[in-house]
Structure formats: structure tokens, C-alpha cells
Symmetry: C3
Subunit: 158 residues, 3 copies
Amino acid sequence: MTPEQRIACLDIRLPDLLNPVGLYIHGKCTGNLLYLSGKGTVSIVGKVGKDITVTQARQAAREVGLYLLAAVRHEVGSLDRVTQVVKVNGYINATPDFAEHPAVIDGCSELLIEVFGEAGKHVRTSVGVSSLPGNMPVEIEAVVELKSSQSQLNNRLN
Amino acid sequence: MTPEQRIACLDIRLPDLLNPVGLYIHGKCTGNLLYLSGKGTVSIVGKVGKDITVTQARQAAREVGLYLLAAVRHEVGSLDRVTQVVKVNGYINATPDFAEHPAVIDGCSELLIEVFGEAGKHVRTSVGVSSLPGNMPVEIEAVVELKSSQSQLNNRLN
Amino acid sequence: MTPEQRIACLDIRLPDLLNPVGLYIHGKCTGNLLYLSGKGTVSIVGKVGKDITVTQARQAAREVGLYLLAAVRHEVGSLDRVTQVVKVNGYINATPDFAEHPAVIDGCSELLIEVFGEAGKHVRTSVGVSSLPGNMPVEIEAVVELKSSQSQLNNRLN
């Protein structure tokens, strides 16, 4: 099953992308890599460990993952263009004593693995930051690898 | 107009690079990507939201952008070697209740778009950190794409 | 001397990798780049500037460097496959008034230069975060360049 077939099958609906709140764009390709801007969600705001529980933050991280997928589809037309998820960086707006970062960002990572399977497994860094834009609980950026350039290159070489 | 012509035209002067204050270098190329170390400015120090206003921090972010451009020129000789700005990560030394990160890092992004035009538009992540080296207000790293390898490769392929 | 010969010669022992504490993997290759997940060490825990001194944190950063090297060897079999270290991002779990970040992350950078020599010099970003997983003092991620794809590509082109 392709990633697009999989999200249809799992009834995962991708949200409409929110306009960037600054002078940046959703995604940029270089070679066969697609870099994605740090995304957040405004469905819930506040600091993890004070205003927001780990469970709520993990749900927020999953929502951010949906926005990342929406950004991929917006930039390259289809999730089926993704050959693998390379990297995820998760920033959690948390209290200084917070220590359960992996459990939060797992909400996003789990979604990516649901959609892309083995190819969705990625390297990751999770840290706790002292503040985020608009007091969002979680911000996540990603790098994914695309089929295009690589296969174009292979075609030219073969 | 090329980027170098544009900064001459706009009378944008690039500062002298400061020596790295640690065991790292300004820039490193891999393939046709140039990775740049996180840069800061010492023209103003302190925490945004306490010692420093958003307007001052945005100006600091623009100055950091000038250092990033100086690093590009230092590494590859000319800004005209840049085909596009790929990615910017902005770290703001801010109070825990700070929420206007995009407005700050826009100071850097705006400069990059002035200099590189459409190719200067980039993906971005902006977060608030609890401290920065030397109590700088802003630290920004970037990845830019260069002409060289890609066109060398194309030359070899054509 | 190759990197593997050098660590043997310097009697640097790489630790066993700890299992990821979340839904992520140690390393992922795209093209000739190997991205490594943010690694930490649990030999010492706490906040730098309060529970932990700069000297202790620098030692912790060196230990994290050993885990990064162990991850490289685990992923590609040998450190000799590395052509250069591209990038290091260091996150320090520090008090809001901490300002000596470069001195801490130098512990990791120094190790990489010991092992890889000139090719070990890298770009770097060091920031102070308000919390880290498990209250670790330091978390460091890296990108290294590998021999493989590039030389395979060159072979196909020549």
C-alpha cells in the first residue's frame, strides 16, 4: 500500500495548511531532500508540565505531524513521492523540570511510521525550550527524502 | 541583478567575521550544500522580553544575517555562488512567556530575501531558548545551496 | 592513520549504544550523508550552572561524542567510512543565566577532531535549553558525510 492509500485506509485527514506567520515558506527542495519549516498547532496552547499534560502534548505532536504531512503534499503533490523520512526535530515548550520529551514527540513519530511504514522511521532530536511562537506547546521540523531528483539522476546515468 | 550587485546597490555592508569562540568553523560544504554555524551578534546582549524589546531583537537578527552572509562570502568567495537559501534556524534567548519569535527572526529572513530575491525564501524554525553563549539575544544557523557541485555534475552528465 | 587506527592508538573505547527511548532510530542515510539522532549520556544528570559545573558538562559532551561515534560505527560498520563531519548541534540543559555554552560542547568537538583530524572540523550551533529528556545535561546531534554514495556515483560517472 502506498502512503496515500494508507492514510485513506486509516481515515487520516490532513488539515488545511495555515499560512506561515512570518517571512518563511512551508517547504524547500534541494536535490532530493525536502526541508519542512517548524510547524505547530494552535488547537491547544500553553506550557507542557504546567498548563498541558504529557498526553495532551503527545496529541498536539500528532496534530503537528498532520500539518507536516499536509506540507509535504502541498509542496510535491503526493505523499507517494516520499522515499523516506530522514529527520525530525521536536521542540517542546516545557517547564524547566520537564523530562518526558520522547513520550511527547512520539505522537508525531508514530504517525509518520503509520503512514510511511519502515521508511517512516527517522532520526530525531527532542529538547525542551523555554518558549515557542504563540505559546504553542510543540514545534516540529522535518527533512524527508523524495523520489524525483534521485531517480531523474539515475535515469540520466543509466 | 546578482546578489553581489544587489548588496552593492542597497549599500549593505558585510561585517568582518568574528573568530569562532570554540572548536568549530564558519562553514562546511557537502555536495552542493553549504552549512553555516550558528552566528550571533554582540552589538547588544540580554534576554528578549526582559532586557531587549522585539524591535531591538529583530535588528539583532538582521545583524546576524549580515554575519551569515559574510560567512558565505568567506567560504565560497562570492554570494553569487548561492543558488538558494534552504533553511534558517533561529534561537531566541527569551523569557518563558515570550511568544513573538517570528517577528524577531523575520529581521534575518527579510535581509536574505532582499539579497537573494525569490531564491532567498527559505524554510524556518524559530524557538525560544533559555540561554545563549555570552548572553546573546539571538543565534541563527543556515543551510544554503551552491552552484558548484550541481553544475559540475551536470557538466559531467551532459 | 585512519580514524579507526587513531581511536585504537589513542585507546578511545566506544560505549555500547543505548536503545532509543522513543520511536526513533540511531542514524539514517540519505545520499552520502548520515544523520544521527540527538544523543545524551546518563553518567551524570542535572542542570548545568546549578547541579553541574562547566567542567563536568564538558566531560559529559565528550561522552556524548563517544555515543555519536558508536552510532556511526553501528550504522555503517566503520568510522573509516566517514569523509568528514559536517555539523554538530549541541543543546545544553542550563540555567537561564548560563553563558559558557561553547566551552561545554567543545568536549564533543575536540573528540571528533582527535578522531577525524582536519576532516573532523565542523560547523556547530550551541544553545541552552530549559529541559532535556531524563534531565540529561547535554544532548548532541550530528551530520557526517560518508564515502559510499559519492564514490559509487563517481565510479558510474567515470
